[in-house]
Symmetry: C2
Subunit: 103 residues, 2 copies
DNA sequence: ATATCAATATCGAAATACGATATTGATATA
DNA sequence: TATATCAATATCGTATTTCGATATTGATAT
């Protein structure tokens, strides 16, 4: 119950993290999901993949299929536009969090 | 377009801020909306009011109608449970933002 | 051939978000 | 007494998002 509430709060944040990680190195769905889980966040593949598609559709990510050990992975990398959005999001996110610690 | 993307990213965050402000003092929809706007965030009343209802339904907020200058306002205050969720959210939010600034 | 396996894609149902419109209820005006 | 006004809240219909479950892909191993 509370867990569901927190997921709701942070789903947007997870989207920012997709951009953040895709800015550091190419990422793919399965692994991103695993790493989220390691940090205590779970997100259904039925939610995650459409998010990737949407971010690519908006031109923030670009994908490239690569075969690794006989498995096809779709690697996403950030675009110039994605980087601009990420930087803006980073600034806003910091402001919002800082405010949570005022008083 | 980018603006819509950023709103999507931050809607969950706005929900945390509702708890945060309701922890400081009783808040009501119209004024919360105005203050968000002052800070550059816009949220439709068709979105905002159901969020208040939902947070109250989950027992994180409690409301009380008060007549001020002949206008009825519904003031929301945080509950004990809401405070617990807020504290957890605050911690998680900080971790997530800090990570955005690593590297 | 076909079974297996990591990975991605998509489905239908439920929930959420949106902008627009309706409702509320107290006061002011006629 | 009616009714106009106004801030504030509520709700409506449509579109979009989220979810868990199921299907598909495609290369390799059996």
């Amino acid at each position: 119950m509370v867990k569901q509430t927190l997921r709701d709060f942070f789903l947007g944040f997870i989207k920012i993290h997709i951009l953040y990680h895709a800015a550091k190195e190419p990422i793919y769905g399965q692994k991103f999901s695993d790493e989220l889980k390691r940090h205590g966040y779970e997100i259904s593949f039925g939610t995650l993949y459409p998010i990737f598609h949407k971010l690519e559709g908006k031109g923030l990510l670009i994908s490239k299929i690569k075969n690794v050990n006989g498995k096809n992975r779709k690697y996403y990398t950030i675009t110039k536009k994605g980087n601009d959005v990420l930087n803006e999001a980073r600034i806003q996110a910091k402001e919002l969090v800082d405010e949570l610690f005022e008083n």
